[in-house]
């Protein structure tokens, strides 16, 4: 069985930071997971090693994260579809890089060297965010509007059955 993990990253009480978590919750609400026994939907406020450890048993991983870019050029709510290679380059998403331990790609590289089976396929959705410095359970309007859109994109890409 091709096990897939859909993992929303971020802090759900930090305005836009939790956009990934909210997309994951939306998917959980919409999708009939009973007909997808190979599919797990979860959330995490973690990066680096902890995130790598969370994805180890899966063949395919869908990461949803906040994308915090230069405030002058950012378009809040803009959705990006990225590959793992993009995280390796100069523009990682918010939680794929936890400087407290190590970045996700470094952690995955380390896991591979150590002989762990790492996922084969990575699907990454990143949403440009505006406010990640203020505590609130409510995202800014443009980011809030992106949540159902990202959920829909993932549901279509993975051909998930709705409830």
């Amino acid at each position: 069985m091709n096990k897939t993990l859909i993992i929303g990253l971020g802090n759900p009480i930090l305005t836009d930071d939790g956009v990934g978590v909210k997309v994951a919750r939306e998917i959980e609400k919409l999708v009939n997971l009973e007909v997808h026994p190979d599919m797990t939907v979860t959330e995490a406020s973690a990066g680096g090693l902890r995130l790598m450890e969370a994805v180890l048993d899966y063949q395919r991983v869908v990461l949803i994260d906040a994308y915090y870019l230069n405030p002058e050029s950012t378009i809040p709510g803009k959705i990006h579809r990225l590959e793992l290679e993009d995280l390796r380059s100069v523009s990682p998403t918010q939680h794929s890089t936890s400087a407290h331990d190590t970045s996700l790609v470094t952690a995955l590289d380390a896991a591979q060297i150590m002989g762990f089976q790492i996922p084969e396929e990575y699907i990454i959705y990143a949403v440009e965010v505006e406010n990640i410095l203020e505590f609130s359970e409510t995202p800014t309007p443009a980011v809030a509007a992106a949540i159902p859109q990202v959920a829909d994109l993932i549901i279509k890409e993975l051909s998930l059955s709705l409830r």
Binding site: G10, N11, P12, I13, L14, D17, A44, S45, A46, G47, G48, L49, R50, E53, Y68, L69, V90, S91, P92, T93, Q94, H95, S96, T97, S98, A99, H100, D101, T102, S103, T106, A107, D109, A110, A111, I113, M114, G115, F116, I132, L133, E134, F135, S136
Partner: protein, 497 residues
């Protein structure tokens, strides 16, 4: 005033940068670690039921949610006026010890260790866990991952959820330990002790056996004489979960020892015009600026500080290593206790001794017959008003302070997070490292590395302050003249597009 900016810091949680201010002659005047401040936590919390705080505050931070969970739970004990039973205390401390094992492990192998394992002059792109594995071997990486895995399992079993625990209740813990869990934890604790001893052996072989590294540790560039804070038990031995907060001076003499609820009587916060950070200091000594010595109220709260503030470790193997630590670093015993070690880079070693203590403590608690007591949920009968709870977070003493109305609805919230305690010492360490390498506006090779090493030993966690790291961007120094014009720029990696 000229200004140098190092932005952002690699390998530290959250977005931060280093600002170095130069004087007219081009020498270092001030330095600090700048952390964007998260706003509105107090407003977010006010109006909510206090008992939600262990589950809300553990969301502040993705690095040490367990520490916030525990400080919040202890604040609720005080708020609702219910003293936890000894079984509850033991269960919580067991959970907390397991968390310490994971946290200190990450720091040594992924963050601080690489500076030593690979050497302070190695390529920064290699100074990470990958580099450690390449140099020391795949087996070590596997041991690190296995250690984290088993302790995350314990955290999940006892805390009710992985990553963000939910078990803390006023005066209690939401679930007791099953027989199967107990057996597993006993086995895991034993493995943790072996792992801690193995880690100390690595430190011995790689760091202590290398005279150049030992010289670096004891060098003046990384030495500061300050006060030290840590929580101690009734024997003045380190305890992470509970006890009195003890502060000792640079000579090791006790300045104060107080219960967490009295924190405001002993700690004040200094505000500087050039930084929005608050710099806590000891009221009894007073603020004399960013300076060393017994007359300066600057204190430090780190693994090294905890060792210095205590008279010893409460477990046998950790005590052996504690004695060896002080003997090796040339500390003399007076009045039955070792004089403090002031070498900041020794914090990495102190952290491993704490790792061993946490593992041994976990085993002791797991072997305690009371640990499986099913009666861990007391009934609350009192009317709440105010409560303060504190624990030793890996990065320093963590205090939560709540006030509520008679219905338990929050009216006031104040948190002093671990890293905040160390704001002044971190600034001093960065300044000292920079002073050695910036003379009359000339910046020498190695500034980035030395400055990184100077603050990394504090393990500053900025995600209590923010999560806003845009990515692993290069460590960067910007040098500006006194008019703010950019005159020079240094960077470890290629520029961002």
């Amino acid at each position: 005033m000229e200004r140098i900016t190092i932005d952002p810091i690699t390998r530290l949680e959250g977005h931060g940068k280093i600002e170095i201010f130069l004087n007219e002659e081009g020498n270092v005047k001030n330095a600090y670690l700048q952390i964007p401040e998260l706003r509105g936590f107090e407003q977010f919390s006010i109006g909510r039921p206090a008992e939600e705080m262990p589950r809300i505050t553990n969301r502040i931070c993705g690095v040490c949610p367990e520490a916030h969970h525990m400080a919040a739970t202890k604040a609720l004990d005080a708020l609702f006026g219910v003293e936890p039973s000894s079984a509850v205390k033991k269960l919580r401390e067991l959970f907390y010890s397991s968390f310490y094992v994971t946290d200190h492990t990450v720091h040594f192998y992924a963050l601080g260790g690489p500076d030593f394992v690979l050497g302070p002059d190695s390529d920064p792109a290699e100074r990470n866990i990958l580099g450690v594995i390449r140099k020391v071997g795949v087996d070590i990486g596997i041991q690190v991952i296995e250690c984290r895995k088993r302790n995350h399992e314990v955290i999940k079993m006892l805390g009710g959820r992985g990553v963000h625990p939910v078990a803390g209740l006023p005066g209690g813990w939401s679930k007791s330990m099953t027989k199967e869990e107990h057996e597993l934890i006993l086995e895991y604790a034993k493995q943790n002790i072996d792992f801690a001893l193995f880690s100390l052996k690595i430190f011995d072989d790689i760091v202590l056996a290398n005279q150049a590294y030992v010289d670096l540790i004891v060098s003046d560039a990384f030495t500061h004489q300050t006060y030290y804070m840590g929580t101690v038990d009734e024997k003045n031995q380190i305890n992470f979960y509970d006890g009195l907060i003890r502060v000792v001076g640079p000579d090791g003499a006790e300045l104060v020892k107080y219960p967490a609820k009295d924190y405001a009587k002993h700690i004040a916060e200094r505000v500087e015009p050039w930084s929005y950070l608050k710099f806590p200091y000891l009221k009894a000594v007073g603020w004399k600026g960013f300076v060393d010595g017994a007359d300066s109220g600057v204190y430090c709260a780190t693994p090294l500080s905890r060792l210095n503030a205590a008279d010893g470790m409460a477990t046998p193997k950790a005590q052996e290593h504690y004695e060896r630590f002080y003997e090796t670093l040339g500390s003399k015993k007076t009045n039955g206790r070792y004089a403090p070690v002031h070498h900041r880079l020794a914090t990495h070693w102190a952290r491993l001794i704490e790792l061993l203590y946490a593992a041994e403590r976990m085993q002791e608690l797991a072997q305690d017959p009371e640990i499986t007591d099913p009666d861990v949920r007391p009934v609350i009968t009192s009317i709440p008003t105010e409560g303060i709870g504190s624990v030793e977070a890996p990065r320093g003493t963590l205090t939560h302070h709540y006030k509520t109305d008679e219905n338990g609805i929050l009216t006031d919230v104040n948190l002093i997070v671990g890293t905040t305690n160390n704001n002044a010492p971190i600034a001093m360490s960065i300044k000292k490292a920079a002073e050695g390498l910036i003379k009359n506006g000339e910046v020498s090779e190695g500034l980035l590395n030395q400055v990184e090493m100077a603050f990394r030993n504090y393990d500053p966690c900025m995600s209590c302050a923010t999560h806003s790291l845009p990515g692993q961007m290069p460590l960067e120094i910007q040098i500006r003249d006194k008019d703010g014009k950019l005159v020079n720029r240094l960077s470890q990696y290629v520029d961002q597009p």
